[in-house]
Amino acid sequence: MNRTRLIEGRTALLVTFAVGLVLAWSLAPAVWQALTALKPDVQITKVPTSYLPHPVTMQHFASLWERKPLGLYLANSAWIATWATLLCVAVAAPAATALARLPGRGREGVLLALLMLSLFPPILLLFPLYEGVRGLGWINHPLALVLPYAALNLPLAVWVLESALRALPAELDEAARLDGLSTLRRLWRIHLPLALPSLATTCILVFIFCWNEFMLALTFMTRDTSKTITGGIASVSGASLYEIPWGQLSAAIVIATLPLILLVLLFQRRIVSGLTRGALKG
């Protein structure tokens, strides 16, 4: 009895240690960035490295805010990601309803085709999309990113929503049909409210992926005031590689990642379960 308890105690200790290691590895780069952002310049370029900021300073945030329209970057990202998410879900939900009650092979075929689409390397689409965006005069216009983002996240949204809608009992449809509701009404009034958790998960995931996108944002948003946070931060660096203002850069990184960290901590359960189902998207 004592022996097993000893072994159990030892395993628990080992597990705790391993979990600690995994956490340290996962969080260290972000934590290090935050520490750097709070250090005075002399400390940032000190050799050997001094680890904790002393005194804690907000100077980098202040000078960054003066030098770059960071608030605009954030607002652009939020605006574009929000509209892209809404469009994506608005298009995905009807498609998911159509697929959820589709019997047999057709459903699997369409879902598989969607999966294939989401695997296309984005570089393949970059130049033709650029041509289209230029042709429409949409360079620096939010729509240039909203449409591609909505489309590129569509497979994920359809996958998650379809599996949620399929799980709803079929009798619901019958009852609603007898009440004379059209399919779209049924979707809006009955199905989506019931599938609300999955809907929320889909929205959060799509929003995050839009917020994080870099290649298209870099290419389509050339004016400083139109940039999203990812593209904007890449332009924070100084004139040459050797005069990168690391304090400001760290501050920018903290500002760009903080909203996401909050989102993850707020919706942790939802995100983990949603990611598990939607993990396929990447």
Partner: protein, 291 residues
Amino acid sequence: MWTRERLLLLLPALLLLAVVVALPVLRVVQLSLYHVELHQGIVLRWAGAAQFSRTWLDTRWWATLLNTAVFTCCSVALEMVLGVVFALLLHRRFRGRGVVRSLVMLPWVLPTAVMALAWSWIFNDSFGVLNDLLGRVGILSAPVAWLGAPHTAMITLVVADVWKTTPFVMLIVLAGLQGIPEQVLEAARVDGLTAGQRLWKVVLPLLTPSLLVALAFRAIQAYGAFDLPYVMTGGGPGGTTETVSLYAYHNYFRYLDFGYGSAVAVQGAVLAGLLVASVLHVARRLGAKRT
């Protein structure tokens, strides 16, 4: 069945995908068959397969292909191993597991382009924390210019990618682990298999489908890597970290050679497709042999 209503419901999605994915794919294939010249607007001159045969003599194309292969193999291999280890660990019951899981997910949720900068700072030659730590432990006697030398630059990219995407593999494996019934493990325990044997002979074979999914996704995403090399190394030093995606991008927007850029992108995508198909084929064969 395919009623008219169903098709109407699917229509917006199909339209969006047609405009943003299907048409661009057709267009890039078309462009890859032409010499694309910039005068007032774009002028196309038929090239046939000339752009593709040009890659044969292009040492830089072969170099990028090799870089991409090295990057993909190293990072995907490490991610698969670490992802399984993380998943096995976080599958255990312990207090605070939910919070730990979501914290471990963080790297995957944070923007790659932004965290690439964070990694450049960590790997910085004069003030980077990695040099300092390794120096303190006594592994390094002098600071290393991680991003400045060919081999170490590739290592930095792999480390950043492993950090970023291990959680993705972990998630898929965790989902797979949850699908293994407790009785199976109990039976193995009763049969007297040790923990290691249970893992190797019972758990891993049952995880094969999850592992294949993770492998396919990771391989194709790592192969298409753009954000990390663009931000961390710009493809340097001396083109040693230029990936296929980055090379296509440079052809488009640095050299304005849209035809060749398209050919590079198309050829890269076709090779990626073949790669994944063959990896899955081999893996499935091996899996079939084992059971």
